[in-house]
Symmetry: C2
Subunit: 406 residues, 2 copies
Amino acid sequence: MTTPTKILVAQGGGPTAVINQSLAGVVLEARKFPQVAKVYGAHHGVRGIVNEELLDLTQETSHNLEMVARTPSSALGSTRDKPDAKYCHEIFEVLRAHEIGAFFYVGGNDSSDTVRIVAEEAEKANYPLRCLHIPKTIDNDLVHNDHTPGFPSAARFVAQAFAGANLDNAALPGVYVAVVMGRHAGFLTAASALGKKFPDDGPHLIYVPERTFDVDQFLKDVKSTYDRLGRCVVAVSEGIHDASGAPIITKLASQVEHDAHGNVQLSGTGALADLLCEEVKNKLGIKRVRGDTFGYLQRSFIGCVSDVDQREAREVGEKAVQYAFWGETNGSVTIKRTGFYSVDYELAPLRAVAGKTRVMDDAFLNEAGNDVTDAFRLYLRPLLGSGMPDAFRLRPNAVPKVLNKD
Amino acid sequence: MTTPTKILVAQGGGPTAVINQSLAGVVLEARKFPQVAKVYGAHHGVRGIVNEELLDLTQETSHNLEMVARTPSSALGSTRDKPDAKYCHEIFEVLRAHEIGAFFYVGGNDSSDTVRIVAEEAEKANYPLRCLHIPKTIDNDLVHNDHTPGFPSAARFVAQAFAGANLDNAALPGVYVAVVMGRHAGFLTAASALGKKFPDDGPHLIYVPERTFDVDQFLKDVKSTYDRLGRCVVAVSEGIHDASGAPIITKLASQVEHDAHGNVQLSGTGALADLLCEEVKNKLGIKRVRGDTFGYLQRSFIGCVSDVDQREAREVGEKAVQYAFWGETNGSVTIKRTGFYSVDYELAPLRAVAGKTRVMDDAFLNEAGNDVTDAFRLYLRPLLGSGMPDAFRLRPNAVPKVLNKD
């Protein structure tokens, strides 16, 4: 790349609280390189590329980029399109038409697979294109990564939400079931454990897709906790399934929606929480049973972000540009943990990351499959960042009874 | 009250983010008074009183009280019990047995009515008891108050949630419906409007219980917004009802739960959001339709609080103690707005506040009944406090198309 070239950046899949940090990382770093003539962004991911809906980010102020970086959700817009070979060929044709020399795609495992196929198209056509995948997903399910940008901030939201929900449940006791995003990986649901301070705090039970969900065992677990504490706070992944692998939600929903990937719609409905609450009410006879579904708040709530996540999301964007211009290969930027707490970045082959799904290590889950271990707490805590709010309680100083009517 | 007396404080109804500020306000202020021998707290509101489950708050450190003040939810525990005359008599008997000279109850309109009846019991028995109601409710529906402690923080949560949900919906367009707490008063749902920055930002439609909800009109409104912007973000109060006054949720739910007050259970279920989403999908044929129910997060999320709300919640607690010992009557502490932005406190007769419900002024709602006015924005903005997060977007600098395939 001796003559200045144009580069293109896009954002794919579900938005996160810090995906714009990666965008800003790419744009601000790339604009320092003499090798870069223009920095383009595509509206709504790969769909914006094939439709030629491009934005000239060379004409954006650094100040506004910094402000956008702190704004959650994908500033360029996103898409759920999963490109096949033909779609990837169309992407490549647009990149060629605009003389793009490097393509940066911020996204999860589907997006990394798109980058891989586009890179292969370019190679076939003998067109010089550097292709970089920049990791992002609140699911934390990319292989070869200690964790993925977006997850720490979503985890922080979930931990804070459960810290508050636990306090609410302690004030007005009953059973509380909250459903957290996560189709195959339970990391985000497991983050609920970091909302716990005192031994009797909730969440008392945590169910993730890495383990089979048995409704009868769930009811036994709830009953045992309720009998012991007079209340019970439960965290459940939207992706929990029975022994056959069938999502628990399909047992209830009359109409089930499927996305372009053939996946059942799990988010954007309160059905699973309501189903589980009905089971508890009907089978255990507990009166006050409440269900919440954290829904889109957990990935897009403004004002709940991990500073560690912000920093790392920025850095993976920066590193992608450095790898593109100082390195020699395409690849996916990955995060390696090097200290407690410190990370470094490496470039993995696209093929090593693309389309693969990471799930929680066995060491992170207890034997009963209804809670996390201290190993998981130690893994997650530094990612949540500084300034985590803390919950305090009054110390017990009982007043002796006078009437003693009981 | 010339000889030192004991005082009792309790918290009733739904928890808020700042109800412990009022508790700390009472305890810390009361402990300065030579007239006060002991400061007791009751566990779980009036239920803890009749059960003699009392806590000696004179033995709590000031430091821990300050930490508890910053912790959301009711540190003493709460209750949904609505005392009748007999129950109030039992409360009074316990107060008399423990030689309580002043009773402070932090709560909403039901709690203020309890304070009123207990005060009447004491008068009948010729027992010297000073009774103070301290305002609290995220519903903002107490009469004689400019607003009520707890509402500003919940409103801040709702505004931040919609700011984020709007960004998420802009990135992945479709229809998004979020259900906000509020049975009779729409203040909290209306707070969603403060999440809006640019003219095309959501929420594009806001429906509150102050207006009749017509499903056909709702669908027309959604269609018109969707046709114009390609997306639509909707805020809906859980208490929306049809022309006959029947809650919209009862049109769906097969089993409807009632509380001690005979109210239909609206919170702790995602049914209303799911019902409205189904309507949009089926009648308008829009594919990507998502529903969220903010549930308990809006009143208990830790780490989203208005500093104005914290300060005022502390002050109403402090003022209650001052009124009890320097004033001459029972009453309910009320908040008056005196500047932009400044407040003062007054003591209203218990009878003036007790059991009454305030709803939104007509001036706060637009004519179509599907949005708020600037008068409401001006009313609410100062309450949200300092440091509200802000959303930024990229400026439009379109790259000319090269292929122009369309």
